[in-house]
Symmetry: C2
Subunit: 530 residues, 2 copies
Amino acid sequence: MAANGTTAPRRTASEYSELQASRLGFSLPLPEVLRNSFQVVDGPPSSAAGNPGLRPNLLPVKCGSVVDPRDVHGLQSARSMHFVTAVRSSLHLISGGEPLWTTISSACTGVTSADVSNQSLKIGVVLSGGQAPGGHNVISGLFDYLQERTKGSTLYGFKGGPAGIMNCKYVELTTDFVYPYRNQFKQAEETAKKLDLDGLVVIGGDDSNTNACLLAENFRGKSMKTKVIGCPKTIDGDLKSKEVPISFGFDTACKIYAEMIGNVMIDARSTGKYYHFVRLMGRAASHITLECSLQTHPNITIIGEEVQQLIAELNEILAHDVVDEGGVWKKKLGDQSRQLFELLPQAIQEQLLLERDPHGNVQVAKIETEKMLIEMVEAELGSRQKQGLYKNVFKGQSHFFGYEGRCGLPSNFDSNYCYALGYAAGALLQSGKTGLISSVGNLSNPVEKWTVGGTPLTSLMDVERRHGKFKPVIKKAMVELQGAPFKKFASVREEWALKNQYFSPGPLQYVGPTSNVTNHTLVLELGAQA
Amino acid sequence: MAANGTTAPRRTASEYSELQASRLGFSLPLPEVLRNSFQVVDGPPSSAAGNPGLRPNLLPVKCGSVVDPRDVHGLQSARSMHFVTAVRSSLHLISGGEPLWTTISSACTGVTSADVSNQSLKIGVVLSGGQAPGGHNVISGLFDYLQERTKGSTLYGFKGGPAGIMNCKYVELTTDFVYPYRNQFKQAEETAKKLDLDGLVVIGGDDSNTNACLLAENFRGKSMKTKVIGCPKTIDGDLKSKEVPISFGFDTACKIYAEMIGNVMIDARSTGKYYHFVRLMGRAASHITLECSLQTHPNITIIGEEVQQLIAELNEILAHDVVDEGGVWKKKLGDQSRQLFELLPQAIQEQLLLERDPHGNVQVAKIETEKMLIEMVEAELGSRQKQGLYKNVFKGQSHFFGYEGRCGLPSNFDSNYCYALGYAAGALLQSGKTGLISSVGNLSNPVEKWTVGGTPLTSLMDVERRHGKFKPVIKKAMVELQGAPFKKFASVREEWALKNQYFSPGPLQYVGPTSNVTNHTLVLELGAQA
């Protein structure tokens, strides 16, 4: 262990709960394609394809592929990577469906395959941004890949997130060190050089993977050998594309929140004493709320994507203007947004003007919308009461479910998905790839049939207003109002509003009939693509 | 169904989650003693034995036993009841340990046994007070007892709690009606007469069982045939005695809260960003907090029983005096309590003076102690910062875990325990018993070996100050500072305070290695008694 590396105090086995211990002993499955010999096959060239308006000068990144002397055109040559089994195993034929090779090669343009070398590597890995259940499974997968396929390799874990790369704070990840985390989860340059890193794995959300992309380009521009691979992490579920069907942590967090909501629904049904108003953790995208709604059937669900114009305008104003007490600044709001703003209780107006997060976004999670709604309903019913139109008693009870979902023990799905993501990251690095995000697909099938590859981070990118300026960033996947999950919700919400069709999923299970159910969002989205 | 009975809208099977459906199909075990033929054996006479200072005129109840013409002395003749298998089965010898008969008969004074008649009965049942997971399992047990052992019996469920008895609002509980609840859950007199009730089962906490006791005595005083049996329900765990080792719902609620706390601990350990302050639902007794602490090992746990003098004095003052704005009323506080009160932030002072609950108690759950503590720590560290004694950044994050624990799907333990309580209640009523609380013991052994009987409600009673007056009530079982659970906690809390020995139990499981673990409190208390 290097001098600057520290030995973190280790937990002993007696400090694990029985369930944690049983999860630790559980051996995770791998997609068939990663189990034996495999080849890495390049896909078609990609660009920030979904965003034809993207101005090249805003996106100074040219990576997203193998370092290749022919690759002088930047974006145009960014390619997806797929792993294919080197030998067609009869297993594929026996288990029914199309042989895996066929499935995958049909998605490949060329047959240019890169051999996977067997030399030892030095790899760094960093957990970037807020937590999500499964992060340590990614690291376990990466670690096992290096152990099993690249003898003598070294894996460094950077401490305290990306700051650890800047400050060169790290630990060497050994078998003993990794054990407890199984089944769960110009300074940067110097660190990479100092540690002689062959690769760096960034496990994070949209902003973290944007940084991974920029870092990959930076290293590449300086002809450094360090490759950068991202892994899609965020409970918000807003980092996804066709090739990255889901970010990890979303499945677990939604199941924990849905349990809590289901319990509160049983309370509501059984006492009839309160109207419960639940707010869930999350940023601008409402995937968590939509998923929990599909899992529990509340009377009313508010999907932010339907009403986000006001917040967009506020972001713009706060980046450039002073919010004067006299309220002159409000003239900068559009008519509809100003009317909406004036409607809100004062406490909520103040919360909307709160400090922005480091990316210049409203900290939506800090707005106590659940309390706002109770106040607004109370005010409305009070006025109806005076007119003799309402005679009952309204009692609101507010809830915020946040941190307790972000750090849960990962579900079976997240455990398996993360392990495959990490193992694949190891293979991508060993193949000399950079600027890719580890991507695991075919998720509606059993783990063995999952496909594995890498997608250029640039293909996920877009320009966005941040702090009032255009910046190249990974495009946040918002709830699509024309997407399958929202349409499903829209088709039933009126019935849920009028009839109490509450649905209580109960606690997340690891064994038994419900243990391998995945979330509605993924199932519906994959179904729509099929 | 009688005219006043209503047909509640039924849920269809499609509205159950997969986990709920799998729990519905799960057949609950019964203690061996309830499986075949059994006799009901009287125990020794009891009184409010633990409370020798109890003044007889404060407790005008004479029930707690079979209606017996010899029983003219009230309390003195209240007897516990035990069920014993009518035939000594060789099973007891095979399974090791003492035969059940011996175990039980050693606890009985006499051998006066009452035959269990086989006539059909009319029984009412009411869920009284706040919810607790398992209430419907009690009803399922009671229902199955009547179905299997008293052909042609009728079971009425009163709606909306005790008010349903007053207003004669009920539903007849049929096989179809009970199905969805399996595995989970002077007007009174008129109702009992109108429905020609043989018995009434009150499923509730300390106050509800106090009412059950008074109702039993009232019915008995008027020579009505309606018998009353209580079942111990409260997530607070504050209704217990040697013969009633635990109230149902406690096990499930603590497991749900401990999961949440464990998750927040993982957040704390992994980001190091916040100091988390968690408040749990509950009233004066701190069993839930103590149990969750034993399950999760937080750095600091506040057990209210150590600091409750102030609240007791405030209750007394609020019952008799006006709280003047000038603060003259504070002179009525003792020195220590006044100093403590003056120390508290103003918001907390106001919360302490809030409206009392229907029993005249401070609504402790409405005091946001988690926010109070954050404010106090901020103030203290701010002052140290000015003196140059503290240089770090303190960020507190508050949590309240409440309703989501009260209405969870019951744990295996609560499911089995409740089913036995309900089945036993059926047997007690069929035997003509009244004023008893259904009691299931020997809980550290497998379900088959559990003992079953009834304990006089009077034996749990005490006089308490309520609304500033002495009233006969069931004694709230507070955390005993000399009891085994608190002693265990006290022996390790210093170590937990200094070292982060967080323990994350994970979600409640129904299958697998952790599914049949009971709570620490019960295990430690039974261990201390053994």
